[in-house]
Symmetry: C2
Subunit: 312 residues, 2 copies
Amino acid sequence: MIILNKQQILDKFDADAITLLLKEGFIAFSQKQVQMPPVQHLLFEQANGDCCIKSGYLQGDSQFVVKVSGGFYNNPAQGLASNQGLMMAFSAQTGEPQAILLDEGWLTALRTALAGRIVAELCAPTHISTIGIVGTGMQARLHLMYLKSVISCRQLWVWGRSETALEEYRQYAEEEGFAVNTTLDAAELGRQCQFIVTTTPSREAILQAADIQPGTHITAVGADGAGKHELAAELVAKAGKILVDSWAQCTEFGEVSQAFQLGLLDYHAFTEVGSALTSGGSFRDNDQQITLADLTGLGIQDVQIVKGILRQ
Amino acid sequence: MIILNKQQILDKFDADAITLLLKEGFIAFSQKQVQMPPVQHLLFEQANGDCCIKSGYLQGDSQFVVKVSGGFYNNPAQGLASNQGLMMAFSAQTGEPQAILLDEGWLTALRTALAGRIVAELCAPTHISTIGIVGTGMQARLHLMYLKSVISCRQLWVWGRSETALEEYRQYAEEEGFAVNTTLDAAELGRQCQFIVTTTPSREAILQAADIQPGTHITAVGADGAGKHELAAELVAKAGKILVDSWAQCTEFGEVSQAFQLGLLDYHAFTEVGSALTSGGSFRDNDQQITLADLTGLGIQDVQIVKGILRQ
């Protein structure tokens, strides 16, 4: 059995090769070629933490993958990363453990950011004068890094709850080549930006329907468990087209779940990423449409990123 | 982070200490003090294999546990154990991985056998002339080993599908001090025995209602996923009292699920092990009653056995 630590994993990480595997994974998922049991969630209120356990098997593969992924939001105060966890590969022939990837949550963060890049290719409006990032953590950084290869805009607004975190993010984003404005007022970010990514574990809406301009795209990646959401239900309902990684997961606990459960949206409002990739071309109908992508994270993404790492 | 191999784990295994922890776990589970998400199941038809993923957290504990447990039934032909898997402990304060227990499925087998011992204390009839074991694999062996401390009977019938496996089991059981009869006819075993344990991954009934004598207890541990069962639905319905490890799991995919879903039993037919332990005394009302225990396996058992190993 192989055990890889974070540095060994990052040394084997090839973003473009893994992006192709992720696209294949989304398509296989939407074509029902993936076994992906419902996500397990654990909540640790005393530690301001949560954990999700995902597993997946792409029919015909020689291995299956199990992932344990935690978010412990008091960790940064102790000098630890919020994201924790590991991924494992097991033989689909004998059940034997083959590899443990002690990635400290990095592979989850990376495959989420790469899913954001895939979604950006499908949904971004033609003209983007300013990108908006809601949140200042790891996902806010990785998302920005990988957007650079598919969006040419280098003007950025970033929203956070803390001036210190915003200044740290500014420094990061400037090093990535962006001209950066920071704000504590999410509505201001909404007014300025045509491509917005929300990346927080918030349990209350940060962006409201009135904040968003026609033609804007929003990728929401924070809602990965019951009760988490970053967008007001009325904003979700205002979207002209909605992309979801999984119809089942997103309507159960994703960003769109509240609007769906309130009856503001019906089944037909959603298209899975895998179906949009199969159709090809832009998901967006026109430049006035608000588009929304809800990424709850799929076990098949873990399957594919582990495959990509172990191939190297 | 600690990584323990099978031998290191077995060296730390204290059956009596862990039995006490398991009892505490069953009680805590029935008192709703345990977070235990629904089990994830994967199926590998091409390899005659399956895998279940369980997790659990006992409120107030410093750690939570995730377990990956596979049964790959072509393995023995390659000289590998059918049971595969590992258990992991993570900090409930920071989410960091604390220990990986490469137990090759042993801890699952052991905690299942110890649960059988707990059930035997609750359900065994006063007079047992013969014990019956259905199956010849690892669980059939471990169950017998741990029954010895709570049942004085040393007469044994064992059923299997292969003469070779039966002869190997006979040798094992004789070394454990039993006088052994083997049979390929489960009905014959049913006629002879007052305490029966079924331990196979069968997907069709092995024991029928007509095979079982009044006053018999049956512990069924094979059904841990949809479609698996060892007892005819009519036999399940014939039981005067039924113990389940989890009402939710057993009615969904346990041995009793078929009879429940056919409407042969209603909600009130079942008592959870944790509730029976809280009540104290014998679960059995009289020596003519057929009692049945359906053990699907709980994440809290994994939590408690890992706790027991890591304490040593």
